[in-house]
């Protein structure tokens, strides 16, 4: 397929290649009336998973946070550490024995109109039945102005279970609904 792209620089190499090692599994969009987005029946045929999103909720706050659970586990089996910058200072934080995984910052309805949070969430070796599951995230939101103007965050979550992950429920820290502009896309990454 001929690339429809121009590069204004020297040494152009614009051939398009395809790789079969990164595949789309499913994509979900917010409804405006539900606070949960679920990926279920996730096949165990990949080495890793990646979730890519833009997200916003209808909370009355300017900011919200992504939360997730694996395999509908509501036990105290989640632990996290995070590092965040808010434009003025940095913070490091963490907690153990949580009933849900806390992840990155996104926007709420009091945020600048049309501003979204964004994140890339990597779930490493998700199908293993011999180790706990580690998740890493880079994400954040920027609103240009106002309170809670922006945060950039690196997160590490651990699910203390050796079960293969076959279901992911994504929810709002503030128990709000995902807006219709929210999109979560789940990808599978194959090993060698």
């Amino acid at each position: 397929m001929t690339p429809m792209l121009g590069i204004m620089a020297s040494s152009i190499s614009g051939s398009k290649i395809s790789t079969s090692s990164y595949e789309s599994i499913a994509t979900a969009t917010g409804t405006g009336s539900s606070g949960t987005i679920t990926f279920s029946s996730i096949p165990a045929t990949y080495s890793h998973l990646q979730i890519r999103c833009i997200a916003r909720t209808d909370t009355g706050f300017a900011t919200d946070y992504i939360q997730f659970r694996f395999n509908s586990d509501t036990g105290s089996n989640y632990t996290y550490h995070g590092l965040e910058g808010d434009g003025a200072s940095t913070a490091a934080f963490g907690a153990a024995s949580q009933t849900v995984a806390l992840d990155t910052n996104i926007t709420g309805s009091a945020a600048t109109a049309n501003a979204m949070g964004a994140a890339v969430i990597d779930i490493i070796d998700y199908a293993s039945t011999s180790k706990y599951k580690t998740v890493r995230t880079i994400g954040g939101q920027d609103q240009n102005s106002g309170s809670n103007t922006g945060q950039i965050r690196l997160m590490s979550n651990l699910w203390l279970s050796t079960s293969a992950i076959n279901r992911i429920d994504l929810t709002s820290y503030r128990s709000a609904n995902w807006t219709t502009s929210t999109t979560f896309a789940l990808y599978g990454i194959k090993g060698a």
Partner: protein, 162 residues
């Protein structure tokens, strides 16, 4: 299931060049990933312009660590904004990875995220907002001062969804 991670275009400079522009980006993908390995003629950082918009529609929030200090920094209402907190000298190498989610939607402002690694100065990550609902069709990279030097590499990938 469809193959979903594709290289759209790449360039490797064989002479000093003022800028690199990926233009006519198709709207057939969901996300874009841009990988920049810059080499600069003089000490500077990379500035990124979307759709030739040079107005003050950009803002950014970073955090960074330089080996002894961690900090955070913000720019609001600025014209095309640098993507990395730390400047590179001409002798330093670095890497920038940028993620543009849902770049072709026409209902939201565009939020994008960068990770920048410059072993000679520090490491940082940033979240950026371009206050425009237009689909992103071009991305221009240019040093804040001077030129990119020979050996600079820029590659853009497209990611599809189900």
């Amino acid at each position: 299931m469809a193959s979903t991670y594709e290289k759209i275009a790449s360039t490797t400079l064989n002479s000093a060049t003022a800028s690199i522009t990926f233009s006519s980006i198709p709207n057939t993908y969901t996300d874009l990933v841009l990988v920049l390995v810059p080499k600069y003629v003089s000490t500077t950082a990379t500035k990124l312009t979307i759709n030739s918009d040079t107005t003050t529609n950009y803002s950014a929030t970073w955090f960074y660590g330089d080996g002894s200090t961690a900090g955070s920094f913000r720019l609001s209402n600025v014209s095309p904004v640098i993507i990395n907190y730390f400047n590179n000298t001409s002798a330093q190498s670095s890497m920038n990875i940028l993620n543009f989610q849902n770049y072709s939607n026409t209902t939201t402002y565009k939020t994008y995220i960068s990770q920048n690694n410059n072993a000679g100065a520090g490491t940082d990550a940033g979240v950026f907002l371009w206050r425009n609902t237009n689909a992103i069709t071009s991305i221009k990279l240019e040093p804040g001062t001077g030129n990119y030097d020979t050996g600079t590499i820029a590659t853009i990938y497209g990611i599809l969804k189900a």
